[in-house]
């Protein structure tokens, strides 16, 4: 398997794209992304890293069809994105699972919303299988309030993967799970993606995770976010099945390079981010603040 997306067909193409939000209360516009040009190739695993608030979530919301760009273009398979579609599913940063549905019912939701030709028992089998994959067996009938944060996150992950969509948009999907489970899930995701040939756009705050999973890593600059640099991870797959990826000769170099890039942006973000909080005053910020702690620590 080729380690990079090069030579493959472009699937998602953003050209000089600008997007943001209308702050209704303050009657002003907040630019989250400015002049972003980025191509996601078919079957590629693209990772986005960048300081908090730089617009990563906004970017995958645009791809998901939840946010309309202000200018520039974003196409999927050559057609402009004008809303959500069957071929793209998403793991949400704040999980966004329905509190009134059990684990099982939450994961089954995509099958209820879109027409499909699977029988009831086929759906049940698929749901059961993915519940096993994400390690939630035994909690099928639990409500989200009975689960830990990391378990809720895995429900969100399972819901996004159960339909095996062409594109998986994952917004810090392992942010709230413990390090051990995280490693297991990473390896599973890699295996799943390798077999199914899925395209993944994956947001993380962990450089290790980015290197472990990504074909390419796009470093996004401070808000308004731009693509600062794209780093190609030239390491063979599977990287995680064999265990220690950190001993790979390329690993240290990539890590240091990325760390410097991200540190630059994170330090630059401090000043900018402060008035950002005040000027937006958005409830979303509160939610982000309470979202699982993700760090950019350089590790050991």
């Amino acid at each position: 398997m080729t380690p990079t997306g090069q030579g493959r067909k472009p699937l998602i193409v953003a050209e000089n794209m600008t997007a943001g939000y209308e702050l209704e209360r303050e009657r002003k516009l907040l630019t989250a992304l400015e002049g972003v040009s980025l191509t996601v190739h078919d079957g590629e695993f693209l990772v986005l890293v960048g300081p908090s608030g730089c617009g990563k979530t906004t970017f995958i919301n645009v791809i998901a069809g939840l946010v309309q760009p202000w200018s520039g273009s974003v196409t999927f398979n050559g057609k402009p994105i004008d809303g959500p579609g069957e071929d793209r599913s998403m793991v949400f940063q704040d999980y966004a699972i329905m509190p009134w549905r059990t684990v099982e019912q939450n994961i089954q939701l995509p099958f209820e919303l879109r027409p499909h030709d699977l029988s009831k028992s086929d759906v049940a089998d698929k749901v059961q299988a993915i519940i096993g994959d994400v390690g939630l067996t035994g909690f099928e009938k639990s409500f989200p309030y009975e689960l830990s944060g990391g378990m809720r996150q895995r429900v969100g992950l399972a819901r996004a993967m159960v339909t095996q969509p062409k594109v998986l948009l994952a917004d810090e999907p392992f942010g709230a799970v413990d390090a051990m489970t995280r490693e297991v899930l990473q390896a599973q995701l890699e295996a799943l993606v390798m077999n199914a040939g899925q395209t993944v756009v994956f947001i993380t705050h962990s450089i290790d995770e980015a290197i472990a999973l990504g074909d390419r890593i796009a470093v996004i600059s401070n808000r308004p976010g731009k693509v600062r640099e794209i780093v190609t991870v030239d390491m063979d797959r599977p990287r995680l099945a064999e265990g220690e990826i950190t001993t790979h000769p390329r690993y240290g170099e990539l890590r240091e390079h990325l760390w410097n890039l991200v540190k630059d942006e994170a330090l630059g973000a401090k000043d900018a981010h402060h008035d950002d909080d005040i000027s937006t005053g958005d409830s979303r910020l509160d939610r982000l603040a309470t979202s699982p702690a993700t760090t950019m620590d350089p590790g050991i």
Binding site: A96, I97, M98, W100, L109, F143, P144
Partner: protein, 307 residues
């Protein structure tokens, strides 16, 4: 909103196998403690009420608050309750005026019918109005001035113009009770729709929901607990409405429980007043407790906000 405190069931370990190894005496201690923890609330309530009724009886006996026609004794009130509900011999010390066999039961039945019909209408209208206001901007724009004005206006003030329009009959009673009760349902339902978490709606959209599905699969379930709280509020508001309306409209006989309370007081039949009042209090209490358990049944996932 109203929060129920769920009694904690004792942990399995505390009365399970671990205990068997302990000495006998500890066992006895444990049993007492367990009886106490399990029936604590009932025991305290019984003691509490007993003391309350004893003090009441003493206050009446020594006429601390006033003579029996102003402040009846507990025992007279109980006998008024007995006659009013089940019929029987009127004993000494109670005023004969209004106290007839089954007088409380008959008036309570009268009020209950009035109350039930009004509440069914108030809830049946309130929920769709709230949903429509929350879901459609133009409905909201048209209705909200009236809803907010009427809901903040003391309902008693609407009585006068209503009398001019409807006269004093049965229909004005329903109108006033409904007007008293309907707004909490409307406003809570509206608030539920309005505050539905955007991220849940986004998730539904990503997984393919159209507008109708967003309402059915996200907005309605999200709103349900709000509706239940609205109904709870409306039910107690409606009770106020019943008492007020029965007081205002009056009647020669059988004006309802509210009417009986005021009518018996002006006839200086204090035991009957207190008996009717106690009946109303018990009904209100059962109602409130009933709707509380309703909330826990309808929206078990809301438990997360109760811990």
């Amino acid at each position: 909103m109203a929060q129920t405190i769920q009694p904690q069931k004792p942990d399995k370990n505390t009365d399970g196998s671990a205990l068997a190894a302990k000495p006998r005496i500890r066992d006895a201690e444990w049993t007492l403690t367990r009886i106490w923890t399990r029936y604590r609330f009932a025991i305290v309530t019984v003691i509490n009420l007993t003391i309350f009724f004893i003090i009441w009886q003493l206050l009446a006996k020594y006429e601390v608050i006033g003579p029996p026609i102003i402040f009846p004794s507990f025992t007279d009130t109980v006998s008024a309750l007995k006659i009013g509900w089940f019929g029987g011999q009127v004993t000494d010390g109670t005023n004969f005026g209004l106290l007839r066999d089954f007088v409380i039961a008959n008036n309570a039945w009268e009020s209950l019918q009035r109350y039930t019909i009004s509440m069914v209408i108030a809830i049946g209208l309130g929920i769709p109005i709230g949903l429509a206001m929350g879901g459609f901007k133009w409905v909201d724009a048209i209705l909200s001035p009236y809803v907010w004005t009427l809901s903040s206006l003391p309902r008693l003030a609407i009585y006068a113009p209503l009398v001019l329009i409807m006269g004093i009959g049965e229909s004005i009673k329903y109108a006033l009770i409904i007007l008293t009760a309907i707004f909490p349902v409307i406003i809570n339902t509206w608030a539920g729709v309005k505050t539905t978490e955007q991220s849940l709606i986004n998730a539904a959209r990503v997984f393919g929901a159209n507008r109708a599905q967003i309402y059915k699969k996200v907005v309605l379930p999200y709103t349900l607990p709000f509706v239940v709280s609205g109904i709870q509020l409306s039910l107690s508001r409606g009770l106020i409405g019943v008492v007020i309306v029965e007081f205002l409209t009056g009647a020669s006989t059988l004006g309802g429980l509210g009417w009986l309370i005021f009518r018996s007081a002006s006839a200086f039949n204090a035991p009957l007043t207190y008996a009717a009042l106690m009946s109303l209090a018990v009904f209100a209490l059962i109602l409130v407790q009933g709707t509380r358990s309703l909330e826990a049944k309808i929206a078990p996932w809301r438990q997360v906000s109760k811990t």
